[in-house]
């Protein structure tokens, strides 16, 4: 007789759950492979590639003007900074100085996009935590910004408006008045966000001391944008390496030292006020002039390597181009903020509950097409 060993089912087994690719709180086609012990997350393995389109490969067979349209599709919530990154790179390589008017408008568009993106993030973050009403409050205000976009360049999400040399076409005559109306409107409406969510006891209990990221971790993992600034990592490209009109506006780089979910939340909330401040300073100073520099129909960058970084709503976007002097780049690389921001989630979520994982991934503000490209 063989002695039967005593087997206790499930004692050391992991309860593995696939969160995604279709899941309400992954905000896109991302899959987390969770190992659970009861409710507690033991390990998170992110699986990406569900929306990998090979944008970097496609760039190798497209001219620089065409690449602009591909960048929209990466971080679709901040399409302007994405376009701007490639445009700045081309302008830097060719040594073109764009008109003042273009610089100011580009800065304003980036800030409008940042406001809209943060509003959508706030809306979705509330939903992740179960406060369903936040979604409609956030979208209500974002709608106003999208209306401005729609009036000037016809599209609401994928603009492809900033192009090498300037802008695709001039802004709508109403642009200035619409932005002027928007500023007092948002100043009135943004405090509502605090009233609805920030001061709520359940919300603070859910977000404080959850997913603490140290500054060292943030730097080592390359966490940029509001997520990194929530840990005290001063990574704002607008301050470090001012581009367009950022050198002449006065704004604060919001830094928090706690590094928890609530700090990341607060950084974004306060950044919205800073964006309004930037808009306020620039709206009356749009100079007259050309909206674009005359560019050749086919742009050929001189042989060499170029790197340009901009600050999108989610962090540092780096564009690295290797040119052989042809009309197509030899290699185009996008260092996207979400790619780096995603992978710290395993470290942050370990030992927390599933509900906290949702809060943490919400506070990192991930846009999945930007990860996969």
């Amino acid at each position: 007789m063989v002695e039967k060993a005593e087997v206790i089912l499930g004692e050391n087994e992991q309860y593995v759950i696939n969160m995604g690719p279709q899941h309400p709180s992954t905000h896109g086609v991302l899959r987390f492979e969770l190992s659970l012990k009861g409710e507690i997350v033991d390990k998170v393995v992110p699986h990406c590639g569900y929306i990998h389109r090979g944008i970097e490969k496609m760039c190798e067979a497209n001219t620089y003007q065409q690449i602009i349209h591909l960048t929209d599709r990466m971080d679709y919530l901040s399409a302007h900074p994405n376009n701007e990154a490639v445009s700045l790179l081309v302008e830097k390589a060719l040594g073109i100085e764009v008109p003042e008017r273009v610089k100011v408008i580009r800065t304003m568009l980036s800030e409008l996009g940042r406001l809209g993106s943060h509003q959508l993030w706030w809306a979705a973050f509330g939903m992740d935590l179960g406060a369903l009403t936040t979604f409609f409050y956030g979208l209500r205000d974002r709608e106003k910004i999208l209306d401005i976009f729609e009036e000037s360049f016809g599209s609401r999400l994928l603009h492809s408006y900033i192009c090498p040399g300037g802008l695709m076409n001039d802004i709508h005559p109403n642009f200035k008045t619409r932005v002027k109306e928007l500023i007092p409107y948002l100043r009135k409406k943004l405090p509502e966000y605090d009233q609805l969510l920030t001061g709520n006891v359940i919300f603070t209990e859910r977000s404080k001391n959850i997913g603490i990221m140290t500054k060292e971790d943030a730097i080592s993992y390359g966490i940029t944008g509001p997520s990194g600034r929530g840990s005290g990592f001063a990574c704002d490209v607008r301050k470090a390496e001012p581009y367009s009109a950022y050198d002449r506006v006065d704004f604060k780089e919001i830094l928090m030292t706690e590094g928890d979910t609530f700090a990341r939340y607060q950084v974004r909330i306060l950044e919205m006020y800073e964006s309004i401040k930037i808009l306020e300073q620039l709206v009356d100073q749009i100079p007259d002039g050309d909206y674009t520099v005359k560019m050749k129909p086919i742009i050929k960058l001189p042989e060499g390597e170029y790197y340009q970084r901009v600050e999108t709503a989610r962090g540092e976007l780096g564009v690295y181009a290797v040119s052989t002097g042809e009309k197509f780049p030899d290699r185009m690389r996008f260092r996207t903020p979400n790619f780096s921001n995603l992978f710290i989630i395993d470290k942050l979520a370990r030992g927390h509950k599933i509900a906290d994982l949702v809060a943490i991934s919400g506070s990192l503000d991930l846009v999945i097409p930007d990860i996969d490209r």
Partner: protein, 362 residues
């Protein structure tokens, strides 16, 4: 008394006599049971539709939206259209699910809520059963619902469902204590477990007014605990759509899903109706002082209107909870119950017992 105009017992008596005249006593009993059953089924279905519509309008109101407004005037037929859609949807059972339990679970949930509704006094003489242990009966029957939820989660062969069901089990078993204890407060005040007697005892004032602050504390705790008991936001951890997609009913579709959905709304109605019956005077009208003009006018409003008016007011409050608060985490939920509500409740009961013993309540 002015209530006598609206006394339903004479109406039910006349039906009984009419039936007795045409058939034997056994058949009378059978036909009366069928009648009551039919009336309750109709009531249940209509109330469910009304509540779903109401929730969508309240939710839309809070969220700066219009809500349903296309099907019929003000969209009142929207829920009926939804119901028809759910009726025609394919019911699919996933592979390796425990088919018997999977099919059984929604019925357990819906039967539990239906049985409890049968014991509610809607007006004088208008209730299906008037037990002398009515409160006890309702507590017993509502706790059956969790069996259905656990079965649904377990038999679905889905990990999300199982997590949802386990959360729900922990939650409902915990909060049952608070519900029971806050009901106990009123039992001590009124000295009876019979719901009709509890309502009668509030003829000269509702318990929430008569019972001083302890009764009010009980009412608040009852409201919180009952919201948790019905799995509604901010305590909707069992469903938690942003975490567990849909929790215990992830794998259900069509009319089986509708059963869970309906049961949730009926449980909410039940919670609100119980809060009304125990704390807000049931179908008793609102009175100020003794024998004033105001009181006479109030007396002419039918008790059914009073009952449903108060119930829908409480339902509105419960809906406000759901659409304004974020969801709690499971450990916070259990902490709230075991570390805060339960000790407060126990202390409150002692206080109430002391008040009643000294005869300090009105």
């Amino acid at each position: 008394m002015a209530f006598s105009i609206y006394d339903f017992s004479s109406f039910t008596q006349s039906i009984h006599q009419l039936l007795s005249g045409v058939m034997s006593p056994a058949w009378v009993l059978v036909s009366e049971l069928v009648l009551v059953g039919l009336v309750f089924l109709m009531f249940y279905a209509l109330l469910g539709l009304a509540l779903v519509y109401l929730e969508r309008r309240v939710c839309a109101f809070i969220q700066n939206r219009l809500g349903p407004n296309r099907v019929g005037p003000q969209g009142i037929f929207q829920t009926i259209a939804d119901l028809i859609k759910l009726l025609f949807k394919e019911i699919f059972i996933i592979k390796n699910a425990d088919k018997f339990l999977f099919n059984l679970a929604p019925f357990i949930v819906i039967i539990a809520s239906m049985m409890a509704i049968g014991a509610l006094p809607f007006a004088k003489g208008l209730h299906a059963m008037d037990f002398n242990i009515g409160v006890f009966y309702i507590l017993a029957v509502t706790s059956l619902g969790v069996v259905g939820i656990l079965l649904a989660g377990w038999s679905s062969n889905s990990k999300y469902s199982l997590l949802g069901a386990m959360r729900s089990g922990a939650q409902i078993i915990s909060y049952e204590l608070s519900v029971g204890l806050s009901m106990l407060a009123i039992i001590i005040f009124s000295g009876s477990m019979q719901l009709s007697v509890i309502v009668e005892s509030q003829a000269n004032g509702w318990w929430i007014f008569k019972g001083h602050i302890p009764a009010f504390i009980s009412f608040v705790i009852f409201l919180i605990a009952a919201t948790a008991e019905t799995n509604r936001g901010p305590f909707d951890l069992a469903e938690a759509e942003s975490e567990l997609t849909a929790g215990f009913h992830t794998e259900y579709s069509g009319i089986r899903f509708a059963f869970f959905f309906l049961a949730e709304y009926m449980n909410m109605f039940l919670a609100a109706a119980l809060a009304t019956t125990l704390f807000l005077g049931g179908w008793m009208p609102l009175h100020f002082g003794v024998d004033t003009q105001f009181n006479h006018i109030m007396d002419f409003v039918p008790p059914v209107v009073w009952f449903f008016g108060k119930t829908f007011f409480v339902i509105y409050i419960i809906m406000l909870f759901k659409w304004t608060f974020p969801r709690l985490r499971i450990d916070q939920l259990l902490t709230l119950e075991w570390k805060y509500l339960l000790p407060i409740n126990l202390f409150n009961i002692v206080l109430i017992a002391f008040l009643v013993m000294m005869g300090w309540h009105f």
